[in-house]
C-alpha cells in the first residue's frame, strides 16, 4: 500500500473543481487511457486582467493523479496566467504534503496540463509537445525529459522514470535516457535553473542575492503562507542565508525545524546546494 499523505487522501476522496468550466478559454489534455492516466483541464480567464477565474478538471488515474489534479485547480484559481505558469510539479507535490517518488509523474501530469491549457488559451503550441519523442510507450519527448530532470534535479534513470514515466514501458529507450541524463549532469543545470555549485560560482553576488530573494518570494513564501506561515529574508553572507520564519506554531521547536528544513531544501534546489539557512533571531 502506498503511503499517501492525509492531504492526498483528502483531495482524492473529496476532489475540488471537478468537471468543465462554464466558458472554456483554455483546455489542456495530457496523458491517455492506454497510458494509465489522463487529465483534462479547462480554464476560464478574465481576459482584461489575465486572471484565471475558474479551473476544472477531469482525471482518469490513480489516487495521486486525482489528488494532483484537484490541488492544481485550487492553486491556479485567482492567479494571473503568468503567475500560474511559475508553478512547478514540485509545488503541486508540496501542496499535497509530498507524493511517493514513484508517483511524482502525477504532479508532472498536472504541470503539463496547465501549460497545455495556457498554450491553448494563448493560441500557441505547448512546450511539452516540442522536441523528439524518446519514450514511445508513454510519448515523452527529450524536451520534456530534460526540463523535468533539471527542475527536479534528477540524477538516476529510475528517477527519470518516476517523474516522467519515460523508460517505464518496454525499456528500449533507457540507453537514450541515460545519454540525456549524462548530458544534463555534465553540463550542469545551465540556464534557468539554478543549481549546482559551478554555476553558482559564476554568479555575481548581486545576482545571487536577487535569485535568493526571488526564490523566497515566488516559491517558498507562498508554500508557507498556505499553512499560515511566512518568511522574510534578512541578510545573505556568503553561503549563509538569514531569514525570519513565522509559523502557526512559532513557539514549537520541532515545527520550527521543519520550516527551516523546508526552506533549506528549496533554496538548495533553486539556488545553490551549499546554502545554509540560519534563523535570524532579533534580540
Amino acid at each position: 500500500m502506498w503511503e499517501y499523505t492525509n492531504q492526498v487522501m483528502e483531495h482524492f476522496e473529496r476532489p475540488r473543481n471537478v468537471g468543465v468550466v462554464t466558458r472554456i478559454d483554455g483546455e489542456g489534455q495530457v496523458g491517455s487511457l492506454s497510458c494509465g492516466d489522463a487529465l483534462r483541464l479547462t480554464i476560464q480567464v478574465d481576459r482584461d486582467n489575465d486572471i484565471i477565474e475558474d479551473a476544472k478538471f477531469q482525471t482518469f488515474g490513480c489516487a495521486s493523479a486525482i489528488a494532483s489534479s484537484s490541488a492544481l485547480t485550487e492553486m491556479i484559481k485567482g492567479r494571473t496566467v503568468d503567475h500560474a505558469l511559475t508553478l512547478t510539479n514540485q509545488d503541486i507535490a508540496d501542496y499535497l504534503g509530498g507524493l511517493p517518488r514513484e508517483k511524482m509523474h502525477c504532479s508532472v501530469l498536472g504541470q503539463e496540463a496547465l501549460e497545455a491549457a495556457v498554450a491553448n488559451y494563448r493560441g500557441v503550441k505547448p512546450k511539452a509537445a516540442e522536441g523528439q519523442v524518446i519514450c514511445e510507450c508513454f510519448g515523452v519527448t527529450d524536451v520534456e525529459i530534460e526540463r523535468v530532470a533539471r527542475t527536479n534535479r534528477l540524477t538516476t534513470l529510475e528517477e527519470v522514470t518516476q517523474f516522467t514515466k519515460a523508460g517505464g514501458g518496454c525499456g528500449k529507450c533507457q540507453e537514450k535516457l541515460e545519454e540525456i541524463l549524462a548530458r544534463i549532469l555534465k553540463k550542469g543545470t545551465g540556464k534557468p535553473a539554478p543549481g549546482n555549485g559551478k554555476s553558482a560560482g559564476r554568479m555575481t553576488t548581486l545576482k545571487r542575492i536577487k535569485l535568493i530573494e526571488d526564490s523566497i518570494a515566488t516559491q517558498i513564501a507562498p508554500a508557507l503562507m498556505r499553512d499560515g506561515g511566512d518568511i522574510e529574508l534578512v541578510d545573505v553572507n556568503g553561503q549563509e542565508v538569514y531569514v525570519t520564519l513565522k509559523g502557526t506554531c512559532a513557539s514549537c521547536p520541532s515545527s520550527k525545524r521543519t520550516l527551516a528544513d523546508f526552506v533549506t531544501e528549496r533554496l538548495r534546489t533553486l539556488v545553490d546546494p551549499e546554502i545554509v539557512v540560519k534563523e535570524y533571531r532579533p534580540e
Binding site: E13, S32, L33, L39, Q58, F60, G61, G168
Partner: protein, 405 residues
C-alpha cells in the same frame, strides 16, 4: 466499519483451529525433533502426523514432502534442482503468466546462457498447448507452469502437460500455490514431478511452504545443511508452523466441497451482479478457473482509485493495474492475454473464501456501483451514461506506441 475480505488469493486469515494447534509448540513442546531425548521425541511424533495430513491433501506419501519457508523457496528449490541434476540440458519452458518467482529466475537463467521458452496464452488465459509441445526438445531440462493463475484463477492443464513431459523424459514442476485447497489434487496418479505450495493461502500462517518431490526423482538441495527433511532441506524444522500447516491441510480436505459449491456460488453471484454495471468484463475463462476467483475490469476508470474507495467502504481486493504495483504497465498476465489497456488499468481481482458470507456479497453489490459511478463522473472518458467516443486521449498519438500495440 465492517471488513469484507475478498482478497484470499493474497493471503488468508489463520484458522483458529490452526493457531490453537500451533501454540503448544512454542512453549511446552519446544524440543528439537532431532534430539534423542523425550523432548525431541514428543515433537517428532507430531511432525509425522502433520506431514501425513499434508500428504493426504495432496494424495502423495509423506516422504515426498519437504517443508520450506514459502512458495517462492519451493519454486526456487524445484527449478534449481531440476537444472543441477541435468547439467547437460540448457533449455527450460515456462509461460508468460507465471509468478515472479519463476519469471525472475528464468530471466536470471537467460543471463547464464540458458534458453527459455515462454509459452503464450489465449485471450481467455488458456495455455497454448501446441506451442508447448513444439518447444519440447531433448535439451529441455524443465517445464514449470502455474496450476492456477493467481490473478485470474485460470487453470492450466498441468496433468496433461505432466503426462507429455513424462513421455519425453522432461522434469515437470507446477507452482500450485493458488490451487491447493481450492481444487481437488491427487498426485498419486499424476505424472507431476515437483509441486510448490504455500501455507498462508490455505489458512496456515505466513512463513511456511512445502515442496512435493516425486519419489525416485533426482534431487539436489537448495538449502544445504543438516540431515533434516532427509537431507533435502537443511535447517531445524519450523515445528509450530509445520504443525499449523498440517491442521490447515486437514481442514482444507474437509472444506474442499464447500469451496466448490457455496464459495463458487457466492463468486458467481458477485460476478453476475458486477457485470450488470455497464462496460465491465471478466478477464479469464469462465469455466476453467478456480471456484473462488474473479477478475473484472471496470472500463474508463483506474484500479488503484477503485481499490482505495472500496477499502474505505470496507472491501479488501487487489488490482492488476499499473498504479498499484509501482510499475507503469498493467499486469503481465492481462497483457499476455491481450486484454486491452483500457480494460487492464481498471481490473480488480476478487478472491473469496469459506469465511465469506452471502451478506457480504450483498453489501459488495451495493458498494461497487457507487464507487464505479463516482470515479466515472471524474473520468474525462465518461459523459452522462457512457464513454466519450471522440476523445483525443483514448489512445496516444504515437502510432508506434508499444503500450497500445
Amino acid at each position: 466499519m465492517r471488513t469484507i475480505y475478498f482478497d484470499n488469493n493474497a493471503t488468508t486469515a489463520v484458522d483458529p483451529q490452526v493457531l490453537e494447534a500451533m501454540l503448544p509448540f512454542f512453549q511446552g513442546l519446544y524440543g528439537n525433533p532431532s534430539s534423542i531425548h523425550h523432548k525431541g521425541g514428543e515433537v517428532g511424533a507430531a511432525l509425522r502426523l502433520a506431514r501425513q495430513q499434508l500428504a493426504d491433501l495432496l494424495g502423495c506419501v509423506p516422504a515426498e514432502i519437504i517443508y520450506t519457508s514459502c512458495g517462492t523457496e519451493s519454486d526456487n528449490t524445484a527449478m534449481w534442482s531440476a537444472l543441477r541434476t541435468q547439467p547437460d540440458k540448457r533449455h527450460l519452458i515456462t509461460s508468460r503468466v507465471e509468478h515472479s518467482a519463476i519469471i525472475n529466475n528464468a530471466a536470471f537463467l537467460k543471463r547464464l546462457g540458458y534458453r527459455v521458452t515462454e509459452v503464450g496464452v489465449d485471450r481467455e488465459g488458456l495455455l497454448d498447448l501446441d506451442q508447448l509441445r513444439q518447444a519440447l526438445s531433448p535439451d529441455t531440462a524443465l517445464v514449470s507452469l502455474l496450476w492456477a493463475n493467481n490473478e485470474t484463477g485460470v487453470l492450466f492443464p498441468v496433468e496433461e502437460v505432466a503426462q507429455l513431459c513424462s513421455e519425453k523424459g522432461v522434469v515437470f514442476h507446477t507452482d500450485a500455490v493458488q490451487a491447493v485447497g481450492k481444487i481437488p489434487i491427487n498426485l498419486k496418479n499424476a505424472k507431476i514431478d515437483l509441486l510448490s505450495l504455500a501455507g498462508h493461502k490455505l489458512r496456515a500462517p505466513k512463513g511456511i511452504g512445502a515442496l512435493y518431490i516425486r519419489k525416485g526423482l533426482k534431487f539436489s538441495p537448495f538449502m544445504i545443511g543438516g540431515h533434516q527433511e532427509g537431507g533435502r532441506r537443511g535447517g531445524t524444522e519450523n515445528v509450530p508452523y509445520i504443525i499449523g500447516l498440517g491442521v490447515a491441510a486437514k481442514l482444507a480436505v474437509e472444506r474442499l466441497p464447500e469451496e466448490n459449491t457455496r464459495v463458487k456460488a457466492m463468486r458467481d453471484r458477485l460476478e453476475a451482479g458486477l457485470l450488470k454495471i455497464p462496460f465491465t468484463r471478466v478477464n479469464g475463462h469462465r469455466e476453467y478457473r478456480l471456484p473462488n476467483t474473479t477478475n473484472i475490469s471496470f472500463e474508463y476508470i483506474e484500479g488503484e482509485s477503485i481499490l482505495f474507495h472500496l477499502s474505505h467502504a470496507g472491501i479488501c481486493a487487489s488490482s492488476g493495474s499499473a498504479c498499484t504495483s509501482g510499475s507503469l504497465e498493467p499486469s503481465h498476465v492481462l497483457r499476455a492475454m491481450g486484454v486491452p489497456f483500457t480494460a487492464a488499468h481498471g481490473s480488480i481481482r476478487l478472491s473469496l473464501g469459506t469465511t465469506n458470507t452471502d451478506d457480504e456479497v450483498d453489501e459488495a453489490l451495493r458498494i461497487f456501483p457507487e464507487v464505479v459511478s463516482k470515479l466515472r463522473e471524474l473520468s474525462p472518458f465518461w459523459k452522462d451514461d457512457g464513454p466519450v467516443q471522440d476523445s483525443d486521449m483514448l489512445t496516444c498519438e504515437d502510432n508506434n506506441c508499444q503500450v497500445c500495440n
